[in-house]
């Protein structure tokens, strides 16, 4: 029986100071027992002699300095994992909330995980067909990648994420897959949208949900993605499954991080976010990947809403430096009725080059991809010029490019959330659009592919 302390000295925000403790270690998990018997969890943030600075994982409401008791459990926070977690719903701390039975754990794993040895990683290169042209064709997702969706308030990121979760498959394989979904501070409606969408396709049986809604304690959000990723690691690396992890919304997570940092009176970095936010976010994102000698993989799609649609805000900025690309949604396209409103030019998949080409998608993929990017960029420039100077000011070829840009948005990007396009369809639509341009303009495509596909 661990020793109990009634020496809580201070409670401020998510922090608590406990005096006179013995044999307490850094990062140790603790429990607070309130007078009424309710138990809440916390962890040690700093230990200085016999003073322990403790961070609460749950709300501090009702904590009483004289009669609440604190116990330290001698271990860091762990999650009991088992294959039975599939199809179940948990709260942000990993406790079941769907009226089902408790999970009988096959193993207990530290929720912080351990960093992956870079020498043990296996490079992601298996093409995942999401059925979304703007992703498959231009910003290809591969197994083991972390590819966030940069959205903003009011944009349909949930629809896109649900579409990907529904349609994603690796061609020509029938391997075990699972979805791990972590909701952090989103509304009930948004969370329910995902649940309904998983139910519709029957994917719910292969899904583990961790839900921390907007009215749940913000501080719990710090553990939610870690708990979810621990479950994902177990399924991927112990049970050989291909796991797709959806984390939404990282912005709420970062705000919770800022709350703790502010309460500790740390020197803030940009916009009040702590200086170690990069490291902290990396400790989540880098848990995606594949390992040598393991069959399973973790592919991660974190969703974040950019405050003020600003990509240089610290949250999207630091995320972009860690993840392997980003899918950016655009308000302009959304207004134009393009669904999904993916802005392909600033979007990027860093791992696409190894995941496409002969034997994976099709030999002409890389060439057409570069050409589509270049042509669309030029078309958009031409359209901008047209806005200022009128159509008459454009040269003939620029007019063709401008028309190309419009057609590209309408036919290539805008496909609706219900359409599941095969990679061949996506590439063929690309060729159809490129055929609007004169052959001499297609400098980035090899002659042999032009002969094969141009104008056909």
């Amino acid at each position: 029986m661990p020793k109990e302390y009634r020496t809580i000295q201070e409670v401020a925000g998510p922090l608590m100071l406990v005096r006179g403790v013995e044999h307490v270690t850094y990062d140790e998990l603790g429990e607070i027992e309130l007078a009424g018997g309710e138990v809440r969890r916390c962890k040690v943030l700093e230990i200085n002699g016999s003073d322990a600075l403790v961070q609460l994982f749950e709300s501090s409401t009702g904590i009483n300095l004289s009669n609440s008791k604190v116990r330290f459990l001698g271990r860091s926070m762990e999650l009991g994992v088992s294959e039975d977690m599939l199809g179940r719903v948990f709260d942000g701390m990993g406790r079941p909330i769907d009226d089902g039975p408790e999970i009988l754990p096959e193993a207990r794993m530290d929720i912080n995980g351990l960093p992956m040895n870079p020498a043990a990683r296996s490079y992601p290169e298996e093409f995942i067909q999401t059925g979304v042209s703007a992703i498959d064709g231009l910003n290809t997702l591969v197994r083991g990648q972390k590819l966030p969706i940069f959205s903003a308030s009011g944009l349909p990121h949930a629809n896109l994420a649900a579409q990907i979760a529904r349609q994603a498959k690796v061609l020509g394989t029938g391997e075990k897959f699972a979805v791990v979904f972590a909701a952090m501070g989103i509304t009930f409606e948004e969370s329910n949208f995902f649940v309904e969408s998983f139910k519709e396709t029957g994917a719910i049986d292969r899904t583990v949900l961790f839900v921390n809604l907007a009215n749940d304690p913000a501080i719990e959000r710090i553990s939610t993605p870690r708990v979810a990723l621990t479950a994902a690691e177990y399924l991927a690396f112990e049970k050989d499954m291909h796991v797709l992890v959806i984390l939404t919304d990282i912005t709420n997570y970062a705000d919770a991080l800022r709350e703790v940092s502010a309460a500790r009176k740390e020197v803030p970095g940009r916009r009040g976010y702590p200086g170690y936010m990069y490291t902290d976010l990396a400790s989540l994102y880098e848990r995606a990947g594949r390992q040598n000698g393991k069959k399973g993989s973790i592919t991660m799609i974190p969703i974040l809403t950019m405050p003020e649609d600003d990509k240089t805000h610290p949250i999207p900025d630091l995320t972009g430096y860690i993840t392997e690309g980003q899918i950016i949604l655009s308000r302009d396209l959304y207004r134009k009725g393009v669904t999904p409103p993916i802005d392909v030019l600033p979007s990027l998949s860093r791992l696409k080059d190894k995941g496409i080409g002969e034997g994976k998608t099709r030999a002409d993929h890389a060439n057409t991809m570069n050409q589509l990017f270049a042509a669309y960029a030029r078309g958009k420039d031409a359209k901008e010029l047209m806005v200022i100077l009128g159509e008459a000011a454009l040269t003939e070829i620029d007019l063709v490019y401008a028309r190309f840009a419009d057609a590209f948005e309408k036919e290539y990007v805008s496909q609706g959330y219900g359409t599941d396009r095969s990679i061949e369809e996506t590439l063929d639509i690309g060729w159809k659009l490129l055929s609007m341009l004169p052959r001499t303009e297609l400098k980035r495509i090899d002659d042999k592919y032009l002969d094969m596909y141009y104008g056909k």
């Binding site: 850094y26 700093e46 230990i47 970095g269 990509k311 990027l348």
Partner: protein
């Protein structure tokens, strides 16, 4: 050696008491798990220690033992082809001990102890030797011959010298010094935070050829120079660093992945052994040392990683090699510095970075250079450093970029607008610079072609003027330009698309020799100059712009190196013919 006890633990910072006898920057072993740390502050008998491993589970009362030596690296045969973490532990050996994930307190030697190396002595008994003199060599890989040097502070007469196969710990020579006999092994140690001494620094006078056109032609880096590559995410910093690590004409490459993605290091590990060095024909891995402290690995070791890397690089420089060091990214290093500074409760400077950020960066970059190393021989070695900077939001007014720009002489500014257009390398030609151009002019003109610098200047001028014309076009449209100006715009487009744009993933385009660069430069300019002349003689603009030879110029970058001469002649002739055709009679 002094032993204390832990008093406080806060993340990677541990404060221990009873440490009065320890020195600043000594290595310590923290707790019963013997985690590695370094003393960074002393107050009375309390030492502040930054711990290079995850500290969870540590508590007051556990022992802390000072090892009495500063953070050092092991230098000797076995470095090349290794992949180390930030404090020089080989990641492949760690994997054998702790599996796919990194566990704590793993103790593995930096250089493999069981490997035997063939040592060939180059001195004989009775020879006088001093610091830096070579006593023998070890062929470490097919391309790298490691020279075994007399360690710092040793001077005397060779009393015994062996030859044959030895491990790094066995004695290969005995030197009779004034203070007694000194045994030399293949391995020596050096504290990472101190630059290795040399005789004299020289000013850099030749370029580090990289095979990247925008770099070699426009903004060359000198051997022994320093360059910075700042850019927002997605602008291709890492691809540039990888390209340089692959193709830079250096004998040794040290690549430091500092707080970056794990998969990027995996990429290097997979790709480098497959790629062939154009100079030696051997795998690129045979000349590479990798330091990987990825973003999920402990933050304090990230701070140490760039010192570990540069010390290894200096060691090879001292052998007389040209060494190139890439650090990706120095911003992550600065953030690690900021995190420790915050935990030490220091008064912050700009944006929370410590006030000594600038001086630490300067100290690091100043370890680069073209030097004459210690020893009687006076070997010339060079250490070039290329640091990536990741400014938040791509805005280089932030402290790390600014502190870096004050030191470096080459600035390759990456531009997200270019990246969106998939113009790679996305180095902006208008705001980038190289201050080595003047030093380098003579070399280029002598070693490549006499009009190299002149041609370079012509291309720069066209691009400058394009930027101005672009402004006009934005206001009044293309039609308002004169035929001459429109031709100039076309020439600029050709420079951008046919010359500057380079596809790192294309088998041939990924590396361009200086000779081929010169030819490409010449073709692009010849098109412009001859068209201008033709235009003056009355040739119609449309015809000049639509000459089919332009496509050949555009595809010249894909011509293999062994066929360039022939193709160059062909394209040149074709250009003359087509220019003449535009002036042809009757059909306009």
């Amino acid at each position: 050696m002094s032993t204390g006890v832990i008093k406080k633990v806060a993340g990677p910072l541990v404060i221990a008491s009873g440490m009065r006898d320890a020195n600043m920057f000594d290595v310590v072993r923290v707790s019963r798990q013997r985690l590695i740390g370094e003393i960074i502050e002393m107050h009375g008998d309390e030492a502040s220690i930054q711990v290079y491993e995850e500290t969870s589970g540590l508590g007051p009362g556990e022992p802390v033992e000072s090892m009495g030596v500063p953070m050092s690296v092991e230098l000797g045969p076995g470095l090349i082809t290794s992949i180390y973490d930030g404090i020089q532990r080989p990641l492949d050996d760690i994997m054998k001990v702790s599996g796919n994930n990194l566990k704590r307190g793993v103790e593995v030697p930096s250089l493999k102890r069981d490997l035997k190396w063939e040592f060939v002595p180059t001195v004989s008994i009775g020879d006088e030797v001093e610091t830096g003199d070579i006593i023998g060599t070890v062929q470490e890989t097919i391309v790298v011959q490691q020279k075994i040097m007399v360690p710092y502070g040793v001077k005397g007469t060779v009393k015994e010298i062996k030859s044959g196969e030895f491990t790094v710990e066995e004695t290969v020579a005995v030197i009779e010094t004034e203070k007694g006999e000194k045994d030399l092994t293949l391995m020596q140690r050096w504290p990472v935070r101190r630059g290795r001494p040399y005789q004299k620094k020289l000013s850099p006078d030749m370029p580090l050829v990289t095979g990247q056109r925008v770099i070699d032609t426009f903004f060359p880096l000198a051997k022994g120079g320093v360059a910075a590559v700042p850019g927002p995410f997605g602008s291709g910093k890492t691809v540039i660093q990888h390209q340089l690590a692959k193709w830079a004409e250096a004998d040794i490459v040290v690549y430091i992945g500092c707080g970056e993605r794990g998969n990027e290091m995996t990429d290097v590990l997979n790709e480098f052994p497959e790629l062939k060095d154009p100079k030696t024909g051997q795998s690129l891995m045979q000349r590479t040392v990798l330091i990987a402290n990825t973003s999920d690995m402990p933050v304090a070791a990230r701070e140490a990683s760039i010192y570990t890397g540069i010390t290894i690089a200096e060691y090879f420089r001292d052998m007389g090699y040209s060494v190139a060091l890439m650090a990706d990214s120095t911003s992550r290093w600065a953030e690690a510095l900021r995190e420790m500074s915050g935990r030490l409760e220091e008064m912050p400077g700009e944006e929370g970075y410590p006030a000594y950020l600038g001086s630490r960066l300067a100290q690091f970059y100043e370890r680069a250079g073209h030097v004459i190393s210690l020893g009687k021989e006076g070997r010339e070695g060079a250490l070039s450093v290329i640091g990536a900077v990741s400014p938040p939001g791509g805005d280089i007014s932030e402290p790390v970029s600014q502190a870096t720009l004050r030191i470096v002489k080459v600035f390759w500014g990456l531009d997200s607008a270019l990246a969106y257009k998939r113009h790679f390398p996305a180095i902006n030609w208008l705001n980038s610079y190289s201050l080595y151009l003047d030093n380098m002019e003579l070399w280029f003109n002598e070693h490549v072609e006499a009009d190299w610098m002149e041609n370079r200047q012509k291309m720069m001028t066209i691009l400058q003027e394009e930027a101005e014309l672009e402004e006009i076009v934005k206001m009044v449209g293309m039609d308002a330009l004169s035929a001459g100006d429109r031709l100039k715009m076309e020439a600029a487009r050709s420079i951008r698309e046919d010359f500057l744009h380079q596809n790192s993933f294309h088998e041939i385009d990924t590396y361009t020799s200086l000779k081929k660069q010169y030819m490409m430069m010449h073709l692009v300019l010849a098109f412009y100059e001859e068209s201008v002349a033709a235009l003056e003689k009355g040739a119609p603009l449309q015809k000049l712009i639509q000459m089919p030879v332009r496509e050949q110029i555009g595809r010249f970058k894909y011509v293999p190196e062994d066929k360039v001469e022939e193709e160059y002649r062909k394209v040149n002739e074709e250009l003359h013919v087509e220019i003449a055709n535009t002036l042809g009679k009757g059909d306009f």
